[in-house]
């Protein structure tokens, strides 16, 4: 890590690697929820499957769209989602970049890559007035997949936003109210929905989803408990 830092960090910003290392096991925000509320295994009758994608790093990019667009194209090879509510997926199928507000984007990358990407972005951005914040510790990604009808009914019970396919096509993502909390709701493709949840509200959302998904025999795939080991 140290050589990368000297090569890419222009030295004007204090950066540090927030990842303690892949060999150190990390608790997912849902570790306690799995113990406390259980995790029903998906069966043949399950129309919805929930899975926590804990092995992800989250970065918030803030600044002018034009400079960030150039840096993102250089480092990630994708265009910046400049339209409101736009969600762009990277070619690796894991990373994604989402419009949050006119000067704010959420970048989700595989676990352990945030620091290198931050340094590369900072090098590409030069002296531009931007902020890059590592927020992996503050939020987690829940993925819902399965029967499209069941998923939409589950979301209709939970969010105030219109999730009809005509209004919410794949490639869209919004920050909205979910039950009595807020989260980022996104639709990477036809069969999946993603929820970016605050860590402190992860248990609430998890239990809400278990309850709301009960009628669809919701099942939970558990692999996020050992983040370090899976990366």
């Amino acid at each position: 890590m140290s050589d990368i830092k000297s090569d890419l960090n222009p030295g004007t910003v204090n950066t540090y690697d927030a990842c303690p290392g892949a060999d150190i096991a990390q608790e997912s925000p849902l570790a306690w929820s799995y113990l406390n509320s259980g995790a029903p295994a998906p069966g043949p009758s399950s129309r919805i499957v929930m899975r926590e994608q804990a092995a992800r790093d989250h970065l918030i990019l803030r600044g002018g769209a034009i400079v960030i667009d150039e840096a993102v194209r250089q480092v990630l090879g994708i265009n910046l989602p400049a339209r409101p509510q736009q969600l762009t997926l990277c070619d690796d199928g894991v990373s994604s970049l989402q419009w949050l507000s006119p000067d704010e984007w959420l970048l989700i990358v595989p676990f352990g890559q945030a620091y290198n990407i931050e340094l590369e972005l900072r090098a590409a951005l030069g002296d531009a007035s931007v902020a890059i914040s590592e927020v992996s510790g503050g939020q987690t990604l829940l993925e819902l997949s399965g029967d499209a009808d069941a998923l939409q009914q589950l979301l209709m019970k939970s969010v105030i936003y219109d999730t009809h396919p005509q209004h919410f096509p794949p490639g869209k993502g919004v920050t909205t109210v979910f039950a009595k909390t807020s989260l980022i709701l996104r639709r990477p493709d036809d069969s999946r929905w993603e929820l970016v949840v605050r860590r402190s509200f992860a248990d609430y959302v998890y239990r809400w989803l278990l309850d709301a998904g009960d009628e669809f025999a919701i099942g939970v795939i558990r692999d996020g408990a050992q983040q370090g080991a899976s990366a």
Binding site: P84, L100, S101, I160, Y161, V174, T175, T176, V177, S182
Partner: protein, 118 residues
């Protein structure tokens, strides 16, 4: 179901996502050191409470978290316009008054024309 158009998200969003933040377009005195106590007190504490057109500051609290302006009618609660920070409203108390006068004038002329015909 009550929707407000967010000029930054560029779509209609549920009212629950928004918060009102009081009167818009409040100008801070350019030189606070030399303004009178009354001017400073007006700036700090006193707000308009009009009957009719009111320009308000709102925030899309759950969403893009941007502040923007709403022109609202305080009697009918009708939202006449939403616009971004730094923009000037196209609907104001004066413009509404002008339109009302113009509308009254046009009905008056059509009525007088009918009278002539009769």
């Amino acid at each position: 179901m009550f929707h407000i158009y967010c000029p930054y998200c560029e779509e209609w969003r549920e009212e629950e996502e928004f918060h009102p933040k009081g009167q818009a377009h409040i100008q801070r005195p350019i030189d606070p050191e030399s303004c009178s106590d009354e001017e400073w007190g007006d700036y700090l504490f006193f707000r308009d409470n009009p009957r009719g057109i009111h320009h308000e500051l709102w925030v899309h609290a759950v969403g893009c978290r941007k502040f923007f302006n709403i022109t609202r009618h305080t009697q009918s609660y009708e939202i006449l316009e939403t616009y971004r920070m730094g923009e000037t409203p196209s609907v104001t108390a004066e413009s509404v008054k002008r339109e009302a006068i113009a509308a009254a004038a046009s009905t008056a002329t059509s009525e007088s024309a009918e009278e002539v015909r009769a």
